[in-house]
């Protein structure tokens, strides 16, 4: 499959009163046509900032991209100015935001908000744009599109609003769709509907999706590949099966272990101790070392490179070095790696 997007050694910094925050510290990944790449990590791990950089939404002058490139369609997005970026944003790359309550304009009718991009980017007439807007509302499963087109955001429920946001994002048939925690603000049953909708649309339109979330359950459902971010870096990347059934990085173990399964009986959850590091002055060596019970002496000295596990699977931990001691993941994670599908199935 061809790569539609290549991110190489991306750095993003923000100037604050406290100093320079190194929010993204050298991120590399590529996105293939038609795939879904999930980016997981805790708040402050740089997952949202990474995607904002792809959209050209890093606010200057405080925010900067001092290094790295974002290759898309033969261009380096990191070098484009605002005017050039406007031609791409919403057309080739569009975004679904977390909170459907605040990402729509409360004073504009839904129809107008959907048509805006069509008129701007595709130079459609009002009639054409309206016809397309009706099509889109139908596509995202909003009943009575004719009537709904003339309504305001407050007349929609949270789930319905998120469908409208998706319709806006899809209006110009983008090549890349970035979804930043699109279901976090929604109830589980609505979340399941929205995820089904996104998968359905993807299979129809062959869009590439970058899906940001901290919910590993959602990742297991939507993703083809998963990138785990910690302290501004990708620490593990692989196919969804690689990361869930053969995780290599202790941070990934921690994330998997800290979520209870529906049938978990352990007395204690496997919590990751401590809190993420301050990115104004990132620690020497591996940023996760201080919270990592499997940390080796070298972790406090030198940053681990990306080790290759397989053609699809990479992880940045010294545990994969040939001289490192053999370390088994904790039992709770091993149980998870073995898969719980069998047990789950037999219950119903």
């Amino acid at each position: 499959m061809e790569n539609i997007l290549d991110v190489n050694n991306l750095h993003v910094t923000f100037d604050t009163y406290g100093g320079k925050v190194q929010a993204v510290r050298g991120v590399n990944f590529s996105l293939k046509k038609g795939e879904t790449l999930a980016i997981v990590g805790e708040s402050g791990s740089g997952k949202s900032v990474t995607t904002k950089a792809l959209m050209g939404l890093i606010k200057k002058p405080a925010g900067k991209i001092p290094e790295g490139e974002i290759l898309f369609d033969g261009k380096d997005l990191a070098k484009l100015n605002e005017k050039q970026m406007q031609k791409i944003r919403g057309k080739d790359i569009s975004m679904i935001f977390q909170d459907p309550m605040t990402s729509l304009n409360p004073t504009m009718k839904i129809g107008k908000q959907i048509m805006e991009g069509l008129i701007l980017h595709q130079k459609k007439s009002k009639q054409e744009a309206k016809a397309r807007a009706l099509e889109l509302l139908d596509l995202v499963g909003i009943p009575n599109p004719e009537k709904r087109l003339n309504q305001y955001p407050h007349q929609f429920s949270g789930g319905m609003r998120q469908r409208v946001v998706i319709a806006i994002a899809l209006a110009c048939n983008p090549k890349v769709l970035i979804a930043d925690e699109p279901t976090t603000a929604l109830d589980v049953t609505i979340q399941a509907q929205i995820i089904e909708l996104m998968k359905d649309i993807q299979s129809k339109m062959d869009t590439s999706i970058i899906f940001i979330t901290h919910d590993l359950g959602v990742v297991a459902n939507v993703a083809d590949r998963v990138a785990v971010m910690y302290a501004g870096k990708i620490v593990e990347i692989g196919t969804v099966d690689d990361v869930f059934y053969n995780p290599k990085h202790p941070y990934t173990w921690g994330l998997l272990g800290s979520m209870p399964t529906v049938d978990s009986t352990e007395e204690k959850l496997l919590a990751i101790p401590g809190t993420p590091p301050d990115l104004i002055s990132p620690p020497k060596g591996d940023a996760f070392a201080a919270r990592n019970e499997y940390a080796l002496a070298i972790d406090f000295e030198e940053e681990p490179p990306m080790f290759k596990v397989s053609d699809t699977h990479y992880a940045a931990t010294w545990l994969l070095h040939e001289n490192a001691p053999e370390i088994e993941p904790p039992p709770a994670v091993k149980k998870r790696m073995a898969g719980i599908a069998g047990e789950e199935g037999s219950q119903s």
């Binding site: 109830d187 399941a192 359950g217 297991a220 921690g254 979520m259 399964t261 204690k268 219950q347």
Partner: protein, 306 residues
């Protein structure tokens, strides 16, 4: 369940709010349940189902429209003297959802934690108070240097620990935790849940744990009630509820939980819930098997028993 002594009985509790000129919102519309001493009772449901209103009405942040909340044998909503209310407030405490909004930004951690102790006169001297605050901070995994700081100096997980220390300061028997971990990151959620479990074992606390994250609720609760549109639609022990859900809403809710297992997700079958099929007016909460209650009509009741 270790003991079967009831610490809290909720009887046909209703909480209606006025909305607009003639509108009435029946946020909680006739629910009944008991909570036993030392257990964790989970209350789950989607936004707007009335689970938080239930918690707030139990602790008398709202005055109930009708119905009774009997705590340790006395009605919380009965006319009470100031003295009785104060005694009640000491026994029941609450941990709130948003650790950013629930701590006063202009008070130091020590003052936040000690406020309840001051109100109830639990510390004789300032020295004793400070010692107690330091002790509480250590209990929840912070340290005594934190006492003189302000809330903005802490992360979300640390703030939630402060909220827990504040609730513990007056030695309550019963704690209502209203979505205490929803605003936290996954790895921090596990820390807070582990802390709540430890405290329960050490102090014999009883929890009402309100949440929408079903996997966490299952993990922490002994028994679970599922709420929908202001009513309890199903109530059972955790394992029973997850392994043998009867109400179609519970089934739908359980089928929507994302499971961190790709194979399982590939084969997921979601059960849709049809709100039109929900007819609360002919239904009541009936005990289908020991300890397992379902909101059903008499016909459905026969089917469930078969």
């Amino acid at each position: 369940m270790k003991q079967q002594e009831k610490i809290l009985e909720v009887k046909d509790l209703k909480q209606h709010f006025h909305s607009g000129k003639n509108g009435v919102i029946k946020a909680v519309d006739g629910i009944s349940f008991d909570i036993y001493r030392g257990e964790t009772f989970g209350l789950v449901g989607e936004s707007g189902c009335g689970k938080s209103t239930t918690g707030r009405t139990i602790i008398r942040l709202y005055n109930a429209t009708s119905g009774e909340v009997i705590f340790n044998g006395t009605n919380v909503h009965g006319g009470k003297s100031k003295k009785d209310l104060k005694a009640f407030n000491r026994q029941m405490q609450m941990i709130f959802q948003d650790p950013y909004a629930s701590l006063n930004p202009r008070m130091t951690v020590k003052d936040i934690i000690a406020e309840g102790m001051d109100i109830h006169g639990l510390a004789k001297s300032d020295k004793e108070k400070t010692e107690r605050v330091h002790e509480l901070l250590e209990t929840v995994g912070l340290n005594k240097q934190h006492a003189s700081r302000y809330p903005h100096e802490f992360s979300g997980g640390q703030r939630q620990r402060i909220g827990i220390a504040r609730a513990l300061a007056v030695d309550p028997e019963f704690i209502i935790a209203d979505e205490p971990i929803s605003a936290l990151d996954v790895s921090i959620q596990a820390q807070v849940v582990n802390l709540l479990k430890e405290l329960q074992q050490e102090r014999g606390l009883t929890y009402l744990f309100i949440a929408h994250d079903l996997s966490m609720v299952k993990y922490i609760s002994d028994r679970i009630a599922v709420m929908y549109a202001g009513r309890i639609v199903e109530l059972a022990e955790s394992d029973e509820l997850y392994n043998n859900p009867l109400h179609s809403y519970t089934k739908s809710l359980l089928s929507a939980i994302p499971v961190p297992d790709p194979d399982f997700e590939r084969n997921r079958k979601r059960v849709a819930f049809d709100p039109d099929s929900y007819r609360p007016e002919d239904s009541e909460l009936r005990e289908v098997s020991p300890g397992h209650w379902v909101l059903c009509t008499s016909e459905e009741y026969k089917q469930y028993q078969a």
